[in-house]
Symmetry: none
Subunit: 267 residues, 2 copies
């Protein structure tokens, strides 16, 4: 397969994702996929139930194979997290632990503040059926509870990993990247002069047909029309199109008027 030349290299950074005793290969693969979307790559598995490697994980990774290939397997959670300085443990409820509880967003922002590339930080996820046990939560510095409706509150392992990875990626975006440019490349918003020109054209035509009457109401009618059109923030090309629309409509009308004036119609 020929690589896409404009496709950037996948990022290889971010906090470690540590899956404790994952049961389903599908969820390991979906976790790798979520990590790739989040620009993360350090996957660690503690005693995966069905051994490792696992073909079901590959099928679910949707191409994030380099993360599965680089995954490390550990026999204890302690060994899997030994090098980490910040360890966030995900749990549905904080239970009876006296620990700081963060949202995934707060956790991502805090990790980013401590280590912009997530180095020596990690997030712990428990087995599908039970979640993390107290012995795992005790290993962590902080807890993560994902905010969802308490009346339902049911995320599976892959969904929890996705939310954490999504927040990690967002925490790395500059505020300007969070505000994507609304214009396609090359589509320039119209200048003020182009807009005023359009308004003049439109209002002249409307004056000609007596739409902007009575005179004392004209200023407000003009103001409202101008605001309406500016709210759409047209591009240069769209302004040209709008000139054409006004021209066509008024041209049709003029022909009608001329036809009437020539005495052709009895209506």
């Amino acid at each position: 397969m020929v690589p896409d030349p404009i496709r950037p290299e996948p990022r290889c950074e971010g906090p470690a994702v540590v899956l404790v005793e994952p049961q389903l290969g599908e969820n390991i693969g979906a976790a790798a996929r979520a990590m790739a979307n989040g620009g993360m790559s350090d996957l660690r598995l503690v005693n995966p139930r069905d051994g490792w490697p696992n073909p079901r994980a590959v099928a679910a990774a949707s191409g994030a194979n380099w993360i599965l290939d680089g995954a490390r397997v550990f026999e204890s959670t302690e060994a899997a997290v030994a090098d980490l300085r910040w360890l966030y443990a995900t749990t549905a409820r904080p239970r009876d632990m006296v620990k700081e509880v963060r949202t995934p967003r707060q956790a991502a922002q805090r990790i980013k503040a401590f280590a912009p590339d997530g180095d020596e930080c990690g997030v712990l996820f428990g087995p599908e059926r039970t979640g993390l046990r107290n012995e795992h939560l005790v290993l962590s510095t902080d807890l993560i509870v994902i905010p969802v409706d308490p009346a339902f509150s049911s995320l599976n392992l892959a969904q929890a990993v996705l939310v954490v990875c999504y927040e990690w990626f967002q925490a790395g975006l500059a505020p300007s990247e969070m505000e994507p440019d609304r214009y396609d490349r090359g589509a320039r918003p119209a200048s003020r002069a182009e807009m005023l020109n359009l308004f003049d054209h439109l209002e002249a035509q409307l004056d000609a047909v007596g739409f902007l009457r009575p005179p004392e109401k004209r200023p407000l009618m003009v103001q409202n029309l101008r605001n309406l059109l500016q709210r759409a923030q047209p591009t240069e090309q769209e302004v040209r199109t709008l000139h054409g629309v006004v021209r066509s409509l008024s041209g049709t009308r003029r022909e009608d008027l001329e036809a009437n004036r020539s005495g052709g119609g009895d209506d």
Copy 2:
């Protein structure tokens, strides 16, 4: 089944989730599950490939049956969105549309500002294989692009719905301030290995003096001690200090014991 008395009623609000020509019942069910987590309930389906109802959707909904039961099926996207005043269309790329592009977070906040319960607002999702076509994007007022690593960028339908529902729920939560980082630069928090080493040291000494008794209470006592020390988030230097504290205390005790054993002391 006896209802759990402290379980709150599921919320029935939020913007509509409109799935255009969904192919897999599993994804419809997973979307319903995501909506329930986000406190949403208005599901609309445009020409689901395998008809409706769909037992695979029920299996994947993980109990969010009331959302599937209330789902409405439409024969055209236009009919499905006719009553909506704000319609956000999800797409992987903005294409050649001159439209506002929002992140899911921005979209959720804007919907919240317009309608706190999401009334008359909706989000459009395309079929699994192709995503939304231009004819669907044109129906919308704004676009949503989910920020993920452009080097990978592969979210499936259920994952995209989850991110949108998660952001909707978060948009309804009061904003919480991020605390400033408590570590000075240069003061490194201890690694997990350093903490485990400290715990082993402390607990061995406490076992030696019979502090961690009776045996059936030992696990909880250990858990509480570990959580107490981790809540303090010690630095590497502080961990060394704590080792010294444990060593000094147990050394003093040993000297006392030895002094007692030699018969030197009367008290």
